[in-house]
């Protein structure tokens, strides 16, 4: 009896702590919004970061951070956080508007990419939506298989065929999205200028320079240098603190402002 009482108390304390944590998170969020409205963008940034670190990140928090950096004339950082927000709320009209607006201010002309129809459709959904879609198809597919063990009829056959196709499509779509999510190698130039050199050394030949907000493909890194590719044929080594990866990952986080801007 005594043990049961202790367990209930511990559970109650856990729930109470979680509520307190959520309250703090909400409080920080409201303060951050107020700071933004008052034009104190630096304070808003700190508070939004605090909210992110206190729990799971959300697309809106990254969107708000992007807005703060934009207001502080840091287009590179703004695009970085808008791109991070795109991973969570890719179909948000505010985000699409602001990202387009911020991209228009990037100096470097990006290489035009040919759009793949399936990929562009998938880009409208986030990972969570595709996951639940796959789960429903998964349950449906195995469910109809079970039903067909007991009851083989025409309708069950056609339902099985339809669900098989949906299951395969949803599984394939989720796999692609998950791969893109997990292995996103894009990086954003966050400093006003980043000189790309032929090798990972200050004495190496300067090949070209990139400006704030340009998107590059990040590859391996050596010391404080990262191998990047801007477009086909334009690759080289850039200082690691000038380029921030879009994907928040501990392996990639050898970045300019460690601990502050994840």
């Amino acid at each position: 009896m005594k043990n049961i009482f202790i367990i209930i108390c511990l559970l109650f304390m856990g729930v109470h702590d979680a509520k307190a944590e959520n309250g703090q998170r909400l409080n920080d969020f409201v303060q951050a919004n107020e700071a933004y409205a008052n034009g104190d963008y630096q304070k808003a940034i700190e508070l939004y970061h605090a909210v992110i670190q206190s729990g799971h990140p959300t697309g809106s928090l990254y969107f708000n951070l992007g807005n703060c950096y934009y207001r502080m004339d840091q287009v590179g950082w703004a695009i970085l956080f808008y791109e991070r927000a795109m991973r969570y709320i890719p179909d948000d009209p505010d985000l699409l508007f602001n990202l387009k607006h911020a991209r228009n201010q990037v100096e470097d002309q990006a290489e035009k990419k040919t759009s793949v129809p399936l990929k562009s459709t998938l880009n409208r959904f986030n990972l969570s939506e595709l996951f639940w879609c796959m789960m429903i198809c998964n349950i449906g597919f195995w469910g109809i298989l079970i039903i067909r063990r007991f009851h083989r009829s025409e309708w069950s056959y056609y339902t099985f065929v339809v669900l098989s196709i949906l299951w395969a499509i949803s599984l394939f779509s989720f796999s692609i999205k998950w791969y893109d999510f997990q292995y996103d190698k894009r990086g954003i130039v966050v400093s006003s200028k980043s000189i790309v050199r032929a090798g990972p050394d200050e004495r190496e030949t300067a090949l070209f320079e990139l400006h704030s907000g340009s998107i590059v493909g990040c590859e391996r890194h050596e010391g404080n240098w990262r191998l990047v590719q801007f477009s086909k044929g334009k690759r080289g080594w850039a200082k690691i603190d000038t380029i921030e990866p879009v994907r928040v990952d501990t392996l990639c986080m050898i970045a300019a402002q460690p601990g502050n801007k994840n």
């Binding site: 928090l61 986030n126 195995w142």
Partner: protein
């Protein structure tokens, strides 16, 4: 029957007369000549078209005293277009000029059912025969060319006329027009054919008119035009009176060429050039009309401006509509039509505007002006329309809306692109949902895997456990029913019953009863299995000996027992085994 036939004839005659009367009711006469400019020795084809009649009527034509007239026959036409019937007769005459000069032919006057109809009149210019054709008159085939003006202004349309004379039979005619830099030839109208007399010799003439346009100024030497043809020759027979003479003709390729022509193209004079001049050369006019001239405010009226004339009509300019205070202007797409006639390029351009006055009052529109260079008068001319007044009376607001509806249906809707004044980002997300983590992130990795693997796992469980149980049940059930099935099948065997069939059924019974699957057992194996299954040794031995007996009977054909006793033996044995084997 006869009465019916008469009725039919009478009705047909009435219809015919009525139809003729209808046709003749609207008679029209027109006069047409194939060429308006000829030489003294050329012939002119004059056609008088009388529509609305089918009867041959001799017209009286004024102004023919200067021509010798020959009849060219009469042709009649009946046509039905969109259910409407029309008929006409064409009377053709060939006119041969008696003297040089400018003559007016017509009008032609016809009298149809006591009603006089008059046609139009045409003017024909008869000139002396060119020296070029006179010089070459000794040849059976020759070609001459002429230009309407040897001195012209840039942009002016000049006519380059090719005349091909021939007095022998020719086939496969081809023309090679001169090509050069700075001028362009384009055929206008259809080629005309007529007869002419050159120094007392009769020739047929094919006349082709071309419009010559120049882009450059200076002196041009237009190279000769070449006519290629096959001249038909009658082959001379050795026999002077051969009947095949007319059949044996051969063609000989031949070509003739004209003389080259010199042309001087001068630039348009700079002096007195109007500021609104757009390069139009020829003879043009401009007209403007407004319909209606009195409207209520909010209603629409249509302003039409028409430019028409002869010359370089493709350069007819778009007239710009000046802004008028309190009048909304909706422009329509200009319509331009260009015709190629023997007189050159003629055309007209129609421009329309819908005017919607917003306030009452009197407004003045125009005048609209057009400047061109007149080649006839060698000077710039500016023509203009008169001012058009529009009276706008006060209109009701509701009426204005209803009246403007048909205007909008006729005119293309005017839509403006929405443009940004300035650009900026949209504000932060401050709603409570902004903190809501998506459900995928709330789940841990193992939870996601469990959710994914759970449905196939359930399926596997169903397959493995449920169906294993079911199968065991089915097997037990089958084992219990093995004896019944065995007896049924044995009864169903058709006489004469084969030992091999009975052996097969007995083995099936054993397999089902012992819940075994796989290949056929030997008698010794059966003995062993039965012993293991707890069967009394006597019964097991009995089973083995019976099986040996059956196999010997099947494979060697030797058997001491007849079929019926064998059947009875195995029935008894099966009964004992069924009882003895523990389920």
């Amino acid at each position: 029957m006869i009465i019916n036939r008469y009725k039919f004839y009478i009705t047909s005659i009435i219809i015919m007369f009525t139809w003729t009367a209808v046709l003749e009711a609207s008679s029209q006469v027109s006069l047409h000549v194939d060429r308006s400019s000829v030489t003294q020795n050329d012939s002119i084809k004059m056609t008088i078209k009388i529509s609305g009649t089918q009867s041959a009527i001799t017209p009286r034509v004024a102004g023919l005293q200067n021509f010798r007239v020959e009849s060219g026959g009469t042709s009649s036409n009946i046509s039905v277009v969109n259910g409407q019937m029309s008929s006409s007769i064409d009377q053709v005459y060939y006119l041969y000029p008696k003297r040089v000069g400018k003559f007016t032919i017509g009008p032609a006057i016809v009298n149809i059912n006591g009603k006089k109809s008059r046609s139009n009149a045409v003017t024909v210019t008869v000139s002396k025969q060119s020296s070029d054709s006179s010089q070459q008159s000794s040849n059976p085939v020759f070609v001459t060319v002429s230009v309407s003006d040897t001195k012209a202004y840039v942009g002016q349309t000049i006519f380059y006329t090719v005349k091909f004379y021939y007095s022998v039979a020719v086939r496969n005619l081809g023309i090679v027009l001169p090509e050069g830099q700075g001028f362009l030839l384009k055929q206008v109208g259809k080629p005309s054919e007529y007869n002419t007399n050159v120094k007392g010799k009769q020739y047929k003439v094919i006349e082709i008119r071309h419009a010559l346009t120049t882009e450059k100024t200076g002196q041009f030497n237009i190279p000769p035009t070449v006519m290629q043809m096959n001249v038909l020759q009658r082959q001379r027979s050795r026999h002077s009176f051969s009947v095949f003479d007319d059949f044996f003709t051969s063609s000989r390729p031949h070509s003739v060429q004209s003389k080259s022509v010199k042309l001087t193209v001068s630039p348009l004079p700079q002096a007195n050039q109007p500021p609104s001049f757009t390069g139009l050369v020829g003879d043009f006019s401009i007209q403007a009309s407004l319909n209606p001239k009195k409207i209520q405010s909010g209603e629409s009226t249509t302003l039409s401006v028409k430019i028409s004339g002869t010359g370089n009509v493709q350069l007819m300019p778009d007239i710009s509509m000046p802004e008028i205070k309190n009048i909304k202007v909706y422009s329509d797409k200009p319509e331009i039509t260009i015709n190629e006639t023997s007189a050159g390029f003629t055309g007209q351009k129609n421009m329309k505007w819908a005017l919607v006055p917003q306030k009452e009052g009197q407004y003045s529109i125009g005048p609209f002006t057009l400047s061109y260079f007149s080649t006839k008068e060698d000077q710039y001319k500016t023509v203009s329309t008169k001012k058009i007044d529009i009276m706008v009376t006060p209109g009701k607001q509701r009426q204005m809306q209803t009246q403007s509806a048909p205007l909008n249906q006729n005119l293309p809707p005017i839509k403006k692109e929405v443009k940004f004044f300035q650009r900026d980002i949209l504000p932060v997300h401050d709603h409570a949902n902004a903190l809501q983590t998506n459900s995928y992130d709330r789940l841990s990795q193992w939870q996601r895997w469990v959710m994914f693997v759970f449905p196939p796992f359930v399926y596997l469980l169903v397959v493995v456990f449920f169906f294993r149980k079911t199968r065991v049940k089915i097997e037990k059930l089958t084992a219990k029913k093995a004896l019944v099935l065995f007896n049924k099948k044995l009864n169903k065997l058709q006489a004469p019953k084969e030992v091999s069939e009975m052996l097969k059924l007995f083995y099936q019974f054993l397999s089902q009863r012992l819940q075994r699957s796989g290949g056929t057992l030997t008698p010794d194996e059966v003995h062993k299995i039965l012993t293991n299954a707890g069967i009394l040794p006597d019964i097991a031995n009995d089973a083995r000996s019976t099986l040996n007996l059956l196999e010997a009977s099947v494979y060697t054909g030797q058997s001491n027992q007849d079929i019926d006793s064998l059947e009875e033996t195995i029935r008894e044995l099966a009964k004992k085994l069924d009882k003895g084997i523990k389920s």
